[in-house]
């Protein structure tokens, strides 16, 4: 079947199978930041934005994305680089495989709640698993980034 959608603001028309998952379709389209870390809709590594909301691309049919706007980390270069530097500064991650999904969901959080408490951060990001770390470095990185944004006086 044919679908037409926007990937990172670019209109894409493609032929898919009825059970093609969005994650596999996006990877075929060159969005290799989108990772699969589990088979149980639990790890958050495959997070992308669908109409500006973070979703698990492993659990959405590409067919359902027909007519919708999808954004992956490839489409958020500037935001990702700014925030990513703060995560790297803390040496928060070891293997880095969970990073793209984590960045996507953290960016979704900054947009929805630019001034979150520690508990709000934990709650918003609880669906992003990291098997190397204990999340402490990520927490420090997020707080340092938020402090920088506040100082800058702008939005996160």
């Amino acid at each position: 079947m044919q679908i037409e959608l926007w990937i990172n603001e670019k209109k894409v028309r493609a032929a898919i199978e009825p059970d093609t998952l969005l994650i596999d379709f996006l990877r075929e389209q060159g969005c290799s930041s989108v990772k699969r870390g589990c088979e149980t809709s639990n790890c958050g590594l495959c997070t992308v934005f669908m109409d500006e909301k973070p979703v698990l691309s492993c659990s959405v049919l590409a067919a359902r994305a027909d007519g919708h706007h999808i954004v992956t980390l490839e489409g958020l270069k500037e935001e990702a680089e700014g925030f990513g530097a703060y995560i790297a500064d803390q040496g928060a991650e070891q293997c880095g495989f969970c990073n793209p999904g984590f960045m996507m969901n953290a960016i979704a959080m900054f947009r929805e709640n630019p001034d979150p408490t520690d508990d709000e951060i934990r709650e918003y990001l609880s669906g992003n698993l990291c098997r190397c770390s204990g999340y402490e470095g990520q927490m420090r990185g997020i707080k340092a980034y938020l402090a920088f944004c506040r100082q800058k006086g702008g939005q996160a």
Binding site: S41, T47, V55, V60, R64, D66, N105, Y124
Partner: protein
């Protein structure tokens, strides 16, 4: 993993209903649970094009479309004001934001899952379900009905004023619950819904008038025992039936004391 031979974004409920009469069809909801089943689906029916992703408000009730996500329930101001935040509390522990942006109310309720936070909450909220073929049925009745090929269109939540407290016990954050408990008091009537037993949620009312003199520490303890005696629990890898029965008693008591606290707060606010 699920295999799908045809995908149809339904253009009407009538079309969806007709397609769904075949055993090889499936309504895909949020597809989170379905995806993990080893199953071949001839026609996957998607209800996402029917405008059922909205929470509508009338003077009497909230009308929640089947494709409304758990995240919408979590963040809806009116529904949370009505339920003392029980709506949010019932879903916020479910996996993560990205998951809850996909999981639908319709899928969660129609499945009548034995682990369901969502079923527990809506039953305590005195909700009714609107079925395409079967009409409007109380959720309590629906939970016990055999699974058929009807379509759940909406969940209807009456705006009856009262107080609610939702509690769940989990072995670890974001996991399935070991037990769920939602108590509600509307007027003088108290009900307590116990779910994740691990069987579909059930509602227990105060048949013996234990709480007739109001909720107090002693009557809350007594009602906890009363609910425990009436709710069957079972064993799975998350906990034993015996452990769950203890949880029934403790969570019921705590939920009632939570309601007592809210009654006090409301009185002081008046």
């Amino acid at each position: 993993m699920i295999e799908i031979q045809n995908y149809v974004r339904a253009e009407s409920l009538a079309q969806a209903y007709e397609l769904n009469q075949k055993k090889s069809s499936a309504i895909i909801g949020g597809m989170l649970w379905l995806k993990m089943e080893k199953k071949r689906v001839a026609t996957a029916i998607d209800l996402s094009g029917l405008g059922l992703d909205m929470i509508e408000e009338t003077p009497e009730e909230y009308r929640i479309g089947a494709m409304v996500t758990l995240r919408q329930i979590e963040t809806h101001t009116g529904l949370n004001a009505l339920t003392d935040g029980a709506a949010r509390e019932s879903v916020r522990h479910i996996v993560g934001v990205q998951f809850r942006n996909l999981a639908t109310v319709g899928g969660s309720i129609f499945g009548r899952y034995g682990f369901s936070d969502v079923l527990t909450f809506f039953m305590a909220a005195d909700a009714r379900v609107e079925l395409y073929h079967g009409g409007i049925v109380s959720l309590e009745e629906f939970a016990g009905m055999p699974h058929d090929r009807d379509i759940l269109v909406r969940i209807l939540v009456p705006k009856t004023k009262g107080h609610m407290v939702y509690l769940s016990q989990r072995n670890t954050q974001t996991d399935f619950p070991v037990l769920t408990c939602c108590a509600a008091k509307r007027g003088e009537a108290v009900c307590c819904v116990i779910g994740a037993r691990p069987m579909p949620a059930v509602c227990v009312r105060d048949g013996d008038g234990i709480l007739a003199g109001g909720i107090r520490e002693e009557s809350a303890v007594a009602f906890g025992r009363y609910v425990r005696e009436r709710v069957t629990t079972g064993t799975n890898l998350r906990g034993s039936g015996e452990y769950r029965s203890i949880l029934v008693e403790v969570l019921t008591k705590r939920a009632l004391l939570g309601i007592l606290e809210r009654e006090g707060e409301a009185e002081r606010a008046d």
